[in-house]
């Protein structure tokens, strides 16, 4: 605001002049709409120039009618994180529409072409794998799992054909699309091309007819039409269809079960208030019906990456399965460390400050916003905050450039944790994590983990191993940092690290499933 205009509108102390009040308030003291437009910034905070009106009573007493009406005084609080999330939240059908590509489909592979490519490979069998995106390009836990599985398949002289939807979607493909859903094929990790599901099904029918041993595994159904996937499974004549519970997409399009993107809902009944008020609630009944039809049609073995996930899923799901089993993605074992360790000497509390890390994708359901709030509260107070992610962070000490986890460098994150001398990883997930690679990578890198009771296998791993702490809520977390709890935990962690080191055994994924037919 121009200083002259300000002088015309306000007294020295910031008190509005009479004519200013006339412009912005009605005679009865209620604010005109212009007032609300002017006083707030876009983020909801009050413009400093107008703070007087937001915080001080005007000179006319309230009981004379100036500010007695319910709409008379402006809000002074900035928008909360929840309000900001809700402002950005759009009806789910609009989000789905936003995901739609505007590009034309590329030339499509024919069933003959697919069959020819599969036939020319000399292998002892074929594994069909379904996922939601290109695991070779897009980083993430599920993608890493599929990379490991592909590696395990090719090591066994098997052909690994991966299908993911050409059109990414945050939900199932429209039921009307059926076999026409376009999918992109990766053959042993190499791009093969794009085709329609019905073409893959036809090619696989010919493979089976020619005596090829075909197995199939579902990692994710997002973007797929389950009806078409069931047709493919029937064409492959699978007797046992492993279905990975990498998340809870089987229970809701919100695969992390986040009601309105704000809070873990726990997958209540579709008739519940929570579902009725949730942005995903409208589409969930049909989603569940299609999932039920899929599970009823096929001999499915559900695979949970953790016992916690298996227990949670079976308590919430009505989907019929042949069996439900647990296959962890990684197992950590402890060994005694030989003494003395020069590298560990730097772990002495005097040697370097307490270091708190955040690993992986900077998303709220993994606790990113809580981490940022902790930086704002405790940063600069003798605690280092370090971010290790595949993307650059604009807060804390960003060491993200060091981290590229793939099946060829599975220890990239744990090495980065060790190099950054992270004592504690804050993994404040707001959903029941099914496995959490970052928890295991943190521990493997020598860090312990702070989390909350909602975090699924994160808290289960912390409780089972003792490597960290499970704190009730964010207030307890703040108190833990403020009252010495963090210092005590770090001291314990450093003492443990001097005596103990961890080794990891990574999973071959579906190949670790006892009794799976392909070998």
């Amino acid at each position: 605001m121009h200083p002259l205009l300000y002088k015309l509108m306000f007294h020295k102390a910031g008190k509005p002049r009479g004519w200013t009040r006339f412009v912005f308030f009605r005679k009865n003291g209620t604010a005109r709409p212009l007032f609300y437009r002017v006083i707030h910034k876009k983020n909801g905070t009050i413009r400093p120039r107008w703070a007087y009106w937001a915080t001080q009573p005007l000179d006319q007493p309230a009981d004379q009618g100036l500010i007695t009406a319910q709409d008379s005084r402006p809000e002074v609080q900035p928008l909360s994180a929840a309000e900001q999330t809700l402002r950005a939240l759009r009806p789910f059908e609009q989000t789905v529409a936003d995901w739609r590509k505007t590009t034309e489909l590329p030339d499509l592979l024919t069933p003959d072409e697919i069959y020819a490519r599969l036939s020319e490979l000399a292998s002892s069998g074929l594994v069909l794998s379904l996922g939601h995106d290109n695991y070779r390009v897009i980083p993430g836990g599920v993608q890493l799992c599929i990379q490991q599985e592909e590696k395990a398949a090719t090591a066994r002289n098997l052909t690994y054909l991966h299908l993911h939807p050409w059109q990414p979607l945050p939900c199932l493909a429209d039921i009307s699309e059926g076999g026409r859903v376009p999918v992109t094929l990766l053959l042993n990790g190499e791009m093969l091309g794009t085709t329609r599901m019905e073409s893959v099904t036809q090619a696989i029918e010919r493979c089976v007819a020619s005596g090829k041993n075909v197995d199939m595994v579902v990692h994710h159904l997002m973007g797929h039409a389950p009806e078409a996937v069931a047709d493919l499974a029937r064409a492959a004549q699978v007797r046992d269809l492993p279905f990975w519970l990498h998340d809870f997409f089987t229970l809701c399009p919100s695969y992390t079960l986040q009601r309105n993107g704000l809070a873990f809902c726990g997958a209540p009944e579709v008739t519940s208030n929570a579902c009725g008020l949730c942005v995903y609630g409208v589409s969930r009944p049909q989603h569940l019906a299609r999932m039920a039809a899929f599970f009823e049609a096929l001999p499915i073995t559900a695979i949970a990456p953790s016992d916690h996930t298996a227990a949670f899923w079976s308590s919430r799901s009505q989907l019929p399965v042949r069996r439900l089993t647990t296959v962890p993605h990684m197992v950590l074992t402890e060994t005694a460390r030989p003494r003395p360790q020069t590298a560990i000497a730097t772990n002495h509390p005097k040697a370097h400050p307490i270091t708190v890390g955040y690993l992986g994708a900077m998303v709220d359901h993994k606790g990113w916003s809580v981490f940022v709030r902790m930086i704002h509260r405790f940063g600069g107070g003798g605690i280092r905050f370090v971010v290790l992610s595949d993307k650059a962070a604009n807060v804390g000490e960003d060491a993200s450039g060091k981290v590229h986890v793939t099946s060829d460098s599975p220890d990239a994150m744990s090495r980065a944790v060790r190099e950054a001398k992270i004592d504690v990883v804050l993994h404040w997930a707001s959903w029941a994590e099914t496995f959490s690679f970052t928890t295991y990578e943190a521990m493997l890198g020598g860090a312990w983990v702070l989390t909350n009771p909602l975090s699924g296998n994160v808290q289960a791993s912390v409780l089972a191993s003792g490597r960290g702490a499970v704190l009730e809520d964010e207030a307890a977390l703040v108190a833990f940092f403020a009252d010495g709890g963090l210092e005590r935990l770090v001291a314990e962690r450093r003492a443990y690290a001097e005596k103990t080191e961890l080794q990891a055994r990574t999973s071959a994924m579906t190949f670790d499933l006892p009794g799976w037919s392909t070998t």
């Binding site: 709409d71 704000l262 726990g266």
Partner: protein, 346 residues
């Protein structure tokens, strides 16, 4: 025997009324839901019950007959939509199968069964919900002003909701309420009257069997969320202070409502979720063929706006009412002409 429910609105509020009726229908498929319309449809709008969650419609003309135009001329839109509630309540009580009658404001949505109110009416004749059921802290001057003093000004009970049985005491109440609203349903806080609502401060004095429902799950709104907290339990049930959320009163949809919600919901993000849902439901049920601000009784027949001062002068002068029994008409010898001629003459 049947439960009847009704709401009162103009076509400008049809979207909100549809949200109410749909939410009520979801909880009570067997109830008879009435639309009380103080309006006539704008050109192009087809209001067909076959496509609505309402079962029946009754208009102001049905309720007031020949005096409708002249009587409504004395009322603004809020006064009119509240004034008809008493007559509508009486009318519905005449239904042969009626056992209970419930009124809901159109900007309410129902989230769980209203059966506990029906159960209360087994032993009561009238159920009212107060604006507040818990005192504000003495130190919170703003909350006392916004909530408790506002209740002293606007009425202790929120007449966005009232329920009665169909017995003699309920009929006596409805007849008294109708009579007062016919003559005194005005926003005249200078004389202690606020439309249909402030009258009901007298209900516990005049009638027996009055139940003041102090369950926090009913009539949750900006004026009481300072003392109420919403959360979901593990089964996804919405709770207010631990009790099921029965209905929320989404008063003042827009910036004003937002300010009050932000001020008093504070960190209760579930309340903000509720509003997000409501905004989108209202948008879903909005008929774009209804002109913004449409109210048939809001203008003269030539489209000129009927100003509040015109309504006040007409309702206060019996001579004008007798001379101009058809006050919306324009042309020679009409109230419209008289108002033009006398404009500026005090």
């Amino acid at each position: 025997m049947t439960v009847h429910a009704y709401t009162s609105f103009t076509f400008s509020y049809l979207n909100r009324a549809r949200v109410l009726a749909t939410s009520l229908r979801r909880q009570h498929p067997d109830w008879v839901i009435w639309a009380v319309l103080t309006d006539k449809p704008p050109p192009g709008l087809v209001f067909d019950l076959a496509n609505e969650a309402f079962d029946r419609v009754v208009t102001a003309e049905d309720l007031y007959g020949e005096e409708t135009d002249s009587w409504l001329f004395g009322l603004d839109i809020v006064e009119a939509c509240t004034a008809v509630k008493g007559r509508a309540h009486l009318r519905i009580l005449q239904e042969p199968d009626v056992e209970q009658v419930l009124y809901f404001d159109p900007d309410i949505a129902v989230f769980n069964s209203m059966q506990p109110v029906i159960d209360l009416l087994a032993d009561s004749s009238i159920v009212l919900t107060p604006h507040q059921i818990d005192p504000e802290p003495a130190t919170d001057t703003h909350a006392i002003l916004d909530n408790e003093i506002a209740s002293l000004d606007y009425g202790s009970f929120n007449l966005g909701f009232v329920a009665t049985d169909a017995g003699p005491e309920a009929n006596r109440f409805a007849a008294w309420w109708d009579a007062r609203l016919h003559d005194w349903c005005h926003d005249r806080r200078d004389i202690g009257v606020f439309v249909d609502q402030k009258w009901c401060n007298l209900v516990p004095c005049f009638f027996d069997g009055v139940k003041i429902l102090r369950d926090p799950g009913y009539n949750v709104a900006s004026w009481n969320i300072s003392q109420r907290t919403m959360q979901f339990d593990a089964a996804g049930q919405a709770l207010i202070n631990g009790q099921p959320l029965r209905f929320y009163h989404f008063t003042k949809l827009g910036p004003v409502g937002d300010v009050m919600t932000r001020r008093y919901a504070r960190g209760n993000s579930e309340i903000h979720e509720l509003w997000w849902w409501y905004r989108h439901e209202v948008a879903r049920f909005t008929d774009t063929s209804i002109p913004k601000g449409w109210w048939y009784y809001g203008t003269f027949d030539n489209g000129d706006l009927i100003e509040k001062r015109m309504r006040e002068v007409y309702r206060s002068r019996k001579d004008l009412q007798a001379t101009f029994p058809d006050p919306r008409r324009t042309g020679k010898g009409t109230l419209h002409e008289w108002l033009e001629v006398t404009k500026g003459k005090g």
